[in-house]
Symmetry: C2
Subunit: 212 residues, 2 copies
Amino acid sequence: MSADTDPGRPTTRIQREKQEVILEAALEIFSQYGFRGSTIDQIAEAAGMSKPNLLYYFKSKEDILAPILARILDTWLEPLRELDAEGDPLPELQSYIRRKLEMSRDYPRESRLFANEMLRGAPDFSNVLHNELKDLVDEKAKIIKGWMARGKIAKCDPYHLIFAIWSTTQHYADFDIQVRAVLGKERGGDGRFEDAARFLDQLFLHGLSPKK
Amino acid sequence: MSADTDPGRPTTRIQREKQEVILEAALEIFSQYGFRGSTIDQIAEAAGMSKPNLLYYFKSKEDILAPILARILDTWLEPLRELDAEGDPLPELQSYIRRKLEMSRDYPRESRLFANEMLRGAPDFSNVLHNELKDLVDEKAKIIKGWMARGKIAKCDPYHLIFAIWSTTQHYADFDIQVRAVLGKERGGDGRFEDAARFLDQLFLHGLSPKK
DNA sequence: AAATTTTTTGACCGATTGGAAAAATTCTAG
DNA sequence: CTAGAATTTTTCCAATCGGTCAAAAAATTT
């Protein structure tokens, strides 16, 4: 019998293990070459098995991508989910920014694959964007608006604020090549994330206006 | 004779015209599907000619991409080149941010193709990144540092400031699908760029600290 | 209008692709 | 140990890919 997507979850131990190996290999390949730029052979080799063997676990190339994307989106939104209406507004936002930056540092492959899908127009999960994602952002935007109304943070568009947090932090994963090239050898090392954290903290807190 | 890359530039009128048509079509296709995801047939069809006819003007797929990337990078950096050391610091930076945002609005295909290349690790112009780009950013970072030293703007890392400007503005082109999905029908229309401009102006000027 | 050069087309090629089929092997339960 | 199920490998295929080539068709020059 084939082992692919049945209503019932993977049954045997070997199925769970191999599926995990394949998804890890596929993430590596997809994030480097994009969906169409990756071949099943590449993924199979990275997973240490033959192509037909891989196709025994996932019956098509798209069936490999789908669970990866689902998992990424879930992981990706976790920091935003934790934004707490009861917390102290500014530290709450700072902590969100820091966590997003840490994700760019620790999971660059996920970030790049996600960006790749966005560039392609997100053909596979545009419904998720319009439902789960929009709902979550709507909810958190409302919280942020409440903070603004109570004078806890400056008034601004909460949606564009969230976009700014996403873009500035993800930039360090998606444009890593460019960032390291521009920073050069000395400043482009591991310390760049701490420098980025410091800068973003100041930007989102005070902007560029000089102190008086 | 073939019409492709000779030391001498395109000679005939028809060559200039067709090469332009091809590059425009290739930008459209490449920006949608990425380099490996695009086929010469697709580009040829978009350009209204047969594949062998296209290959008469550009002898390989990479030979089509190269001039597009060169042009994009040049266009892309123009706003930064214009950052004027003699200008008024804050308005100078605001104007830079605004121009970059306008480019995301007016040239989203170019932005997405550029992002695509970055995600791939910029195999074709990593040398440009380490030379022309780094030199330009170094020069402008020095200008910005001068402004900080004279107390005209707040002290911060000028490199990460430039990254923040790039990422926040380009986000509206590269993640357009996501931005529009999250903003919804009413707020996701043409007005989103004006909202973004207003928000970015405030973010880079004052950040989120509440007014006292 | 004839000669020559440039442009376009149709037919084709070898390599690679995603995937199917079935045999061969390994694992597991009785 | 043996039957049956699960896993893996070998072989193969049709479609698509980037690219070539020679000949036809336009365009240009003389």
